[in-house]
Amino acid sequence: MTANGKPKFAMYWAAACGGCEIAVLNIHEKILDVDANFEVVFWPVAMDAKYKDVEAMPDQSITLCLLNGAIRNSENQHIAELLRRKAKILVAFGSCACEGGFPALSNLTTVEETLDTAFFSVSTDNPQKVLPQVSFAAAEGELVIPHMYSVVKSLDQVVPVDYYMPGCPPESEQIAAVVELVIKALKGEATLPPAGAVIGAGTSTVCDECKRARNEKKIKGFTRIQDFRPDPALCLLEQGILCNGPATRNGCTARCPTAGVPCIGCYGPTDGARDFGARLMSAVASVIDSNDPQEIERILDGIPDVVGSFYHTNLAGSLLKASKPTWEEEQHAAPHN
C-alpha cells in the first residue's frame, strides 16, 4: 500500500505494435479516472521506469496489470513472469496477448526465414549483410540481447492469466467500461467476473452488431474487396468476401464490416469454440455451393492463404499453434532456450 493509498496500475507492451497502448489513451477523459484511482507504477510507453524498480516491488503489490503483446522472445517471457509475480490481476490485453495476434502468423515460418525476410529482403537496406547476434563481446564486456523464440506464444501459455480482453486493439469504450468496473470493484460496489473470463466483449458474434442484410448462404466463389464493388447493404460473406464476423466474438460494434472491410476476427472465438480457425473453416466450407470435388477445389482457389485468412489473429491460440517445421526448429532450439 502506497503513501497516497491508491492501488497500483501497470501496463506493459510485449511483442505488439503499440496500438493497444494508443487504445488506452483513446479512452479520453476517462484516463483521468485511471490516474485518480490508481497509482501508475510501471508503464514504459507513458513514463520512465526500470525493470529493477519492478523487481524491487513486493509480490502481489500491483493491483491491475494490463499486458499487451505476444510472447516472442526471452525478454517478453521474463517480464511476463515478473509482472505475474507482482500483479494481483493480470489481464491479457489485446489479440496478441490473448491469442498471439499478427506476430503469431510467423509461426508458419522458422526464425531463420523470419530474420532473413527482416534483414536481407528488399524491405531492409543492409549492404554489409549485418545480422544481430544474441550475444556480442564488446570492450565493456559481453552484450546480450533477448533470445528469439521459434514459436510465438500467447500470454497464458507462459503465465496464468486472470482475464482476457481481446481486440486489435480493444475498443476504447470497452476499456473504459472495464476500468470503471475495476474501480467500482475496488470500492466494493461491483464484483469481478470469475477468473479466466473474457471481459470487455460480448457473448455472441460480430454479425449480431452488423447492420448488413443476411440471407441463406451459398458461396460459388471467393473474391476480395479490391476486386469488385461490394453491395454496401448485403452481408460480405454472401458476396464471396471471406469475412470472419460469423465466428468472431462481438463487442467491437462490427466496425470493420460497417466500414466495408471484412472482419479479421480480432476478438477471437466465442465460448462455444475451441479453435477459431477450425470453426470458421467448418462454417465457410459448409456453405460452399457445390458437391463436385473439382469445383470445390476451384472455389477454394479463391483463398490463396488459408491459415492467414482463417487464423488472422489467432494462430498461437489455435490447437496446432505453429507449423510442423517451426515446431521442429523450436524443439531443437529448446535446450539453450
Binding site: S204, T205, E216, G272, R279
Partner: protein
C-alpha cells in the same frame, strides 16, 4: 471428480476374451482411471446375460454409480440391453456408454497384446465420454394411423389387404393404370401351374372394393417430407381423361377407339392395345385411361370416338393432372423389378432374330388372355414351333451384367418348358448353368419335367444365330453351346428361342430410394435393416420394403414379405407412439447472432430463421440429429445431444490416453 463410474468388460465367451485379456483391461481401468472417477471395474463371461446385467444393476444401487461404461459387442446389438439395465436400477439410460470390443477389436485383430492395449484405449475413451453424458428422455412421437404402400404388385396388394383388414386406412399408389403388377401378366404360376389371374384377380377386386383402401392408380409419389409417425407425402395423379365417378367400365370406348398401338408395358411389346385402354380385362380400377401421346384427338384435334360412344359421358379431354398430399405414419415400398433387357446381349439375337422371345414376351404368348389367346406360335403369328430352346441365366450370374442369381429363372424356365411341351408337343431344350429348385415342391416339378422328356443341356449358350453351317440348319435358329456334361461344342437347330431374362432393380430405384431416405445395395436393390433378422425394415424409421424391390424372389416369398411388413406396421400403429433416440440439435439464442450459415444446412428444413429476433431455431420435431449444423455453427451456438463437442473431444483425449495422471504418451 464428482462422477462415480462403473466399467464392465464382457468376455463374450471367447469371442472377446480370445484376443483381449479382459481381466487385465478391467484391472487397468480400475487402477489407471480411478482418478477419472472409475470406482468399480468388472469383467464377466457374458455381460448381456441376466446375471451380467444384474451385476451392473447391483453396483448402481449399492455403489451409487452415476455413469456406466460397457465394453462388449457393437452398440448396434446390445446398447438397448444395457441402457435397459441402467434404467431398471434407476439410472438414466443415457448415462450408459457402450464401446465395441468385439466387432472393432477382438474380431479384427490377432495380436493379443496389441488388442488388449487398444481395448484399454477404447474403454478409456468411453469413460471420458460418459462423464459428459447428460440424462435424457427418449422422444415420443405419435404414429399417424394411415399407411402408404407404393407399388400395386402382389407384395403391395398383400400388405394393403392385411393392414386394411386390421381396420386402419391404407393408400395404395400404383404407377400403371391398374394394380396387379407383373403377376397379372403371367398365365400360370410354378410349381402348381395354377392360373395366375384366377388367384390374383380376387385379391385385386377386394382391394378395389375395400372401405379402408384408397387406390391411387396411374399416380406417382413425387415428394416425401417428415419422419416416422408423420410423413407428408405428395402424389402426382396423372390425368386419365376419364371421369372415375361416371365410368361404368363397359369398355365401349375401347372397342370403338380407331387407333391401335403396340402395348410395350402389359403385353411386353408382343401385342396391341387401343389408345384408350385398360391394360387387361380384369383391370382394377375398371375405368380406362387415354394414352395422350398417341390419341388422335390430342395429336390432330379430331376423332373423339370414345366421347361419342360413351354411354355415361365419362370422357373428359379437359382433365388436368392433380397434386395430392397425404399424411401417413408408415410407408411400405413394394416397387418391384424391371426385367433384364435381353437385347443388351446382342449375340442372343433378341430384336435381331424374329423368333427369339424374352421371358415376358413368352408369358404373354402363352397367356390365354394374351395376343394369341395362349397359342404358342412363332413371330409370324401362325406357325407352331417344332423345337424350342430356353436359355437360363440371361443377364444373371454373368459378370458382364449382373453377378447375382435372379432366383426365379430356373423355375420359370421349367414352367415354360412344360407349357411349350403341353401346347405344341415340340421338343424342348433347356440350356442351364446350374439347376436351382430349392423351395417347396420345386424339385418335384423338375423331376416331373425330366419325365416329360424335356431335354436339359448343361452349359452357357455362346450365341443364337440364323447363319446355317449344315443343311439341317437352313432357315432355322441355331444355339451354339458347350455341353459341359459331354464336354463338346454343340449346335442345336431350333425354331424358337426363349431367353429367361433375370430380374433387375427398377430403373429409377436409386431416385426412389433417395426420395424416401433409404439406400440401395451395389446391385441396386433396397437395403434392409438386417439381412437375416430384419429383412423388411430399413435404416430409416417408418420405411419398410417388401417383394422383389428388396431382392429377387418368387411370388410366395413376395406375399410373405408383404404380410410381414404389414404386421410390423400394424404393430407400430397399435403402439400409437414410438420412442426415438433423443439425438437432437438446439440453438442457444443468447449465442446465436443470426449469421444464417446453418439455415441451408438442414435437408429436413428443421432450422428456421426468426427475422424479428435475428436468431435461428431448430424445430426438434423435424430434426433428425445428424449434427451437421452443430459442426457448421461458427459461434458454437448450436449444441447436439449425445454427440456434443465436449463428448467427442473428451472421448478423443481418452482414446489417446491423454487423461492418465500424470499425462503419458
Amino acid at each position: 471428480m464428482t462422477e462415480k463410474i462403473g466399467v464392465y468388460i464382457c468376455h463374450c465367451g471367447s469371442n472377446i476374451a480370445g484376443t483381449v485379456d479382459c481381466p487385465e483391461v478391467s484391472r487397468w481401468a480400475a487402477e489407471a482411471l480411478k482418478a477419472r472417477g472409475v470406482v468399480v471395474a468388472r469383467d464377466y463371461k457374458f455381460m448381456c446375460s441376466s446375471l451380467g446385467q444384474e451385476l451392473i444393476e447391483k453396483d448402481i444401487k449399492e455403489l451409487g454409480l452415476t455413469r456406466v461404461v460397457v465394453g462388449a459387442c457393437s452398440p448396434h446389438l446390445h446398447e438397448p440391453t444395457f441402457r435397459g439395465a441402467c434404467g431398471r436400477a434407476g439410472l438414466n439410460p443415457y448415462l450408459c456408454e457402450m464401446v465395441s470390443l468385439r466387432e472393432q477389436v477382438s474380431w479384427v485383430h490377432t495380436d493379443k497384446a496389441a488388442a488388449t492395449a487398444k481395448a484399454k484405449a477404447v474403454v478409456s475413451g468411453g469413460v471420458e465420454r460418459v462423464i459428459h453424458h447428460e440424462p435424457l428422455e427418449s422422444l415420443r412421437v405419435p404414429i399417424h394411423p394411415a399407411t402408404l404402400i407404393v407399388g400395386g404388385g402382389i407384395a403391395g396388394i398383400q400388405a394393403a389387404l392385411e393392414i386394411a383388414d386390421s381396420g386402419t386406412p391404407v393408400y395404395l399408389v400404383e404407377r400403371e393404370p391398374s394394380i396387379g403388377g407383373h403377376m397379372a401378366q403371367f398365365d400360370k404360376t410354378f410349381p402348381t401351374l395354377d392360373c395366375s389371374a384366377c388367384i390374383l384377380t380376387p385379391k385385386m377386386v377386394t382391394v378395389g372394393a375395400h372401405p379402408n383402401i384408397t387406390m391411387l392408380t396411374y399416380a406417382e409419389v413425387t415428394n416425401v417430407d417428415g419422419f416416422v409417425g408423420n410423413f407428408a407425402v405428395t402424389i402426382r395423379q396423372k390425368p386419365r381423361y376419364v371421369k372415375a365417378d361416371l365410368c361404368n367400365g363397359c369398355a365401349v370406348c375401347e372397342e370403338k377407339c380407331p387407333k391401335k398401338v403396340v402395348d410395350e408395358v402389359f403385353e411386353a411389346g408382343l401385342g396391341y392395345r387401343k389408345v384408350i385402354y385398360r391394360p387387361f380385362a380384369q383391370a382394377v380400377p375398371k375405368y380406362p385411361v387415354i394414352d395422350r401421346e398417341n390419341c388422335t384427338f390430342f395429336l390432330k384435334g379430331t376423332c373423339k370416338a370414345c366421347e361419342k360412344f360413351c354411354p355415361t359421358g365419362a370422357i373428359d379431354f379437359e382433365q388436368k393432372e392433380e397434386i395430392i398430399t397425404i399424411q401417413v405414419g408408415n410407408i411400405i415400398l413394394a416397387t418391384g423389378f424391371d426385367l433384364f433387357d435381353a437385347r443388351r446381349i446382342p449375340q442372343f439375337g433378341l430384336g435381331r432374330l424374329p423368333n427369339v422371345f424374352s421371358s415376358l414376351e413368352f408369358e404373354r404368348l402363352c397367356n390365354a388372355a394374351g395376343p394369341t389367346n395362349g397359342r404358342v406360335v412363332m413371330r409370324d403369328g401362325v406357325t407352331t414351333p417344332r423345337a424350342v430352346g430356353i436359355v437360363h441365366c440371361v443377364g444373371s450370374r454373368d459378370k458382364h451384367y449382373n453377378n447375382y442369381c435372379s432366383s426365379i429363372c430356373c423355375m420359370q424356365s421349367l414352367k415354360f418348358a412344360h407349357l411349350v411341351e403341353e401346347r405344341t408337343g415340340a421338343t424342348v431344350y433347356n440350356f442351364y448353368i446350374d439347376m436351382r429348385t430349392p423351395a417347396k415342391g420345386y424339385d418335384e416339378f423338375y423331376q416331373r419335367l425330366l419325365e416329360e422328356g424335356v431335354i436339359f443341356i448343361r452349359g452357357r449358350v455362346a450365341e443364337v444365330t440364323d447363319v446355317p453351317q449344315r443343311p439341317e440348319e437352313e432357315g432355322r435358329l441355331v444355339v451354339q453351346v458347350e455341353d459341359t456334361l459331354i464336354g463338346q461344342q454343340r449346335r442345336i437347330p431350333l425354331d424358337m428361342v426363349i431367353l429367361s431374362a433375370g430380374l433387375e432393380p427398377r430403373h429409377d430405384a436409386k431416385q426412389v430410394a433417395k426420395m424416401f431416405g433409404i439406400s440401395c445395395s451395389a446391385d441396386g436393390w433396397y437395403i434392409e435393416k438386417h439381412p437375416k433378422l430384419d429383412p423388411i425394415a430399413t435404416m430409416t424409421e417408418g420405411i419398410y420394403i417388401a417383394g422383389v424391390a428388396q431382392g429377387p424372389k418368387d411370388i410366395p416369398a413376395s406375399v410373405a414379405q408383404g404380410a410381414a411388413a404389414a404386421a410390423r406396421v400394424m404393430g407400430r400403429i397399435q403402439q400409437k407412439e414410438i420412442a426415438l433416440e433423443p439425438v437432437r440439435a438446439s440453438i442457444d439464442e443468447t449465442r446465436c447472432s443470426g449469421c444464417r450459415i446453418c439455415n441451408n444446412m438442414c435437408p429436413f428444413n428443421a432450422i428456421l430463421y426468426h427475422a424479428d429476433k435475428a436468431v435461428s431455431e431448430v424445430n426438434p420435431a423435424l430434426c433428425q440429429g445428424c449434427g451437421t449444423c452443430v459442426a457448421a455453427c461458427p459461434a458454437g451456438a448450436i449444441s447436439g445431444t449425445v454427440f456434443s463437442d465436449q463428448q467427442v473431444l473428451s472421448q478423443l483425449e481418452g482414446l489417446l490416453l491423454r487423461n492418465l495422471q500424470p499425462a503419458t504418451v
